[in-house]
Symmetry: D2
Subunit: 319 residues, 4 copies
């Protein structure tokens, strides 16, 4: 193997640049060339390639977003698209591909691998929803962004004794909501993985008010329902004005946290090693504090599960 | 004068605590006691008072929100409410009152002054909309919060080449939008003080796209229209998906910036001096880098004007 | 068990307050009272106690430092000091003690346990040097503080093409240096656990310079040697001016990161459970993503080991 | 005028990139080309030039440091160096030069202007020590960096009841120390502009201790004396351990604050206008909230004065 390629795909996540940097530097350590593919699978199809030297990845470890850009390209599930991509890669003398993205991106990587082009997947998404790895690149940064925002919201909630609903991201996963809720000391956390009764929230609000505490923060994962919808329901039930804040896309950006950068470094380096070892169709991840690798299919065929013990803890600590 | 009181009123703003601290410490420097009034004018009416010593204001200079809490209390425009408040103050041996808040809060202070109880106003609001002072306490922090959020949003906008609308606060004033837009390098800024044509925004988006730049950030002040409404209009006109982010209440919180803390220190100290000098019905402010004071009425009878030169600059720099 | 106590001891760490909060709230969940001990073991000896209700721990989850204060109190290794402490605890009807601190603090907890007073230890130190737990409370925050500082230093290093040495904390452990180095993309990392040759650093600096890259960041753990000393050695050997920055005590403070708050919540809650289960002389920790507990002695009799694989990775990525 | 050049010189400051961006965009607005000069005056002498289009300054508004690099080049005071620089500029068809830097950099700009090549100066330095402008670009960011660091140090100072000395930058000016001290609520601030007696500091420390407050923060400007030296003196006098933290070069870096970015935008745009108006040998600045310009010589022949009223305020508020 003399030359590999790297691309980012799906929603961007802080730390993707740090992962690209690790792929490039680790490859150079082994005297392998690296080609960057712009715009994810669309760029693979269009042959939008550029050779990345050490200078190309200078000063990017601390930047959010992805220097290779990302794009949704659902057409890539078609066979002819995939064939064209492999043709483009071969023409450039490229023998392996590192895909940084979410579980959707892994499907494309598996398709190419099955057609004989070796790919390795690196989990890059803020949602932390990829089976087989305890953490995904970007999750820790998104958490800190959400928690810092809620710390600010709490200032004003406390000063005015208001109840706030804060909607956080996570698609169908409750990880961001759950960890954010624990870290921000939220009074209530709603995640898609756990059923809840509006009655219970109302009762909790009333119990707090009775105890003299009139401000409260409710975190709701976007996978449960929109924050504004929940706000309307609760206002109708309690007769109290509820304020709603939707944190939105700022959760996807920002300088990656220390933890996300180290994770990106470890996973990026391991991905290159796997290709050099002749492995294909593998995803890298972190488990028990160690870097692991497993079949790409496990990542999208299995179901991600949020850590339910945190949910119980959250309830106990927010009495 | 042996004892004065201090309260915070209206929307809270970062730096209010630093202003309370300055009032207390400056008063102690002159051997004057300070009584804190909880919940603004409501607390004045209810006699919700507590003596504040130096220890009470330890460790608050860096905290958002207000340790005295705030509340809306429209009933305070009634004469009997005001009389009761003065009665409560006199009963405690209090001879002067410092009110930290926005222009609405100043009306209450003027009413009390006209009834013979000397009040001084300190401008505390993120909106920067109080005539007579170049800056209000909290504005600088809100700016930095908004700019940091947009820096994060830009990461993802750039990675995906999306157009984003970001709605910022400011009530009827465009200051937050204007300064934030300049500082964040926004492509378009919409403020209530300046008319605009949807056509122009559409044309600008198309011009950028033609130049190959497909991501764009539009800042809209809440006083213009809701971000989501603007998003719908632009989507209909351009046929392109527009993402909307409403920064919301996090703009009110957070540790105050260095500038807001210094401003709070200067204005808080001056407010105490004014009361000691026997002045009443005055507002403090900053002009030409110096602390000034002026009739409270000027603050709410005049109209705040955003700096139009910044608007022109914003247009020239975002070609 | 009806009443337990909690104290913080040794160097303070961000997240100690979040741990105190978790202890108090989890205990209240089980209808147990909690007494806070001020100034660590010194306060235990002096009977400096205060009952902590839910309100006492309101608004502290996001604050650095420790609301219970900390103090060095080496005299506590004397038997009569320990007896007096137990006497004080018994007199208040306290049946168990949670100690938040480093390995030194664990010795005191073990001594009390051996005298019949059940104690549990929570690892609170930025140094990450406690055997038996993968992470200590405060480590993640200290990392992020160090990395953000180095991001800023890199701005100026790059602009002027200077070489910088940055000294970070960690006592005898290299964890902060190692993780910070990886996350900040440092060119060289020196930790106490790994020998190094000055020649190698000089050669690396010269190699970089030959490649046209004239700025460089060297992270040195305080356990290796003072940054200024290393600076002098390198200046003599290379003839090039080297700038030195000692990050210092800011690494101990600041709002805890999301990760540290969640860790503090989990460990604080588990510590209370252990006491309720009648266990004594245990330390809580995190391993393989799960909360564990083990004999307090293991924490100070075993030796902490930094993750050497990260050191190798750091070298490979900084070619 | 069809083409102008821009360079950064002297110590770098956050916001220099925002100023470069404003120069480039404003020039393009007027259909003028802009050439970037790398490495300050050294690059002017060496002809190290590059044409900057709108894309060159994309995504730099939020970055610390300077994309044009900076360098000390004392040789530039020699006439032949200056002649060569003008020759290089003329050869490229460049008719004007914008210099972003401190007062030292202004001398070079004046020398070129006197030889017939029109230059304009923009004040870029964290030290805020340029006469004729109330603020320099970078000062506000450095303040916030210092204040955030001291907020963290205060956490640990409070927890352990230690006295800390924090040394901040500013060369011969006390502005950073003075504003930082006020914003961080420091107990003592020492600046080069005001004499002080060690006795007074000792007395203040003892007074605080007697009042039961045993932690204290002393800010010392680097222009007064090194922090470690002051620490030794105070330890000898009080017999109490004093901790010292030297904030160092991190004060020069980091994403510029909102205020610094707006200031950079305003001054950068005005500098271009001045050249277009045919003016030369002018410095731009901010006074009374408005952009002004004045003779470059005033900037280095006059003496900068810190605002003494802030020093008095600082003393009154830290009783």
């Amino acid at each position: 193997m003399k030359k590999i390629a790297v691309l980012t795909s799906g929603g961007d996540a802080p730390g993707m640049n740090a992962a690209i940097r690790a792929v490039v530097r680790k490859a150079h350590y082994h005297k392998i060339d690296v080609v960057g593919v712009y715009y994810g699978y669309e760029g693979l199809y269009n042959g939008n390639f550029e050779l990345l030297d050490l200078g190309s990845v200078g000063g990017i470890i601390q930047r959010g977003g992805t220097m290779l850009y990302s794009a949704r390209f659902p057409e890539f599930k078609e066979t002819e698209m995939q064939n064209k991509a492999i043709e483009n890669l071969r023409k450039e003398g490229i023998d392996g591909l590192v895909v940084i993205g979410g579980d959707g991106s892994y499907r494309g990587a598996m398709a190419l691998t099955e057609k004989g082009f070796p790919c390795v997947g690196i989990p890059g998404t803020i949602d932390n929803d990829i089976p087989g790895t305890e953490y995904t690149i970007g999750f820790d940064t998104a958490l800190n962004t959400a928690v810092e925002a809620i710390d600010k919201i709490r200032d004003t909630a406390t000063s005015h004794e208001n109840t706030f609903i804060v909607e956080v991201m996570g698609r169908n996963a409750g990880d961001i909501a759950l960890w954010t809720g624990l870290a921000a000391g939220a009074e209530t956390v709603l995640i898609p993985e756990e059923e809840f009764e509006i009655e219970d929230i109302v009762a909790r609000l009333e119990r707090s008010a009775a105890r003299g505490k009139r401000h409260s923060i409710i975190i709701v994962a976007e996978g449960v329902m929109p924050g504004h919808k929940l706000g309307k329901i609760l206002e109708e039930r309690t007769g109290v004005q509820i304020r709603v804040s939707v944190l939105g896309h700022m959760q996807r950006g920002g300088a990656p946290s220390a933890r996300d950068r180290v994770l990106a470094g470890r996973l990026g380096a391991r991905a290159v090693e796997l290709l050099l070892e002749g492995q294909a169709g593998r995803a890298v991840g972190i488990q028990n504090h160690a870097v692991v690798d497993y079949d790409l299919k496990e990542a999208y065929e299995n179901e991600h599960k949020a850590d339910v013990s945190l949910y119980t803890l959250s309830k106990e600590l927010s009495i």
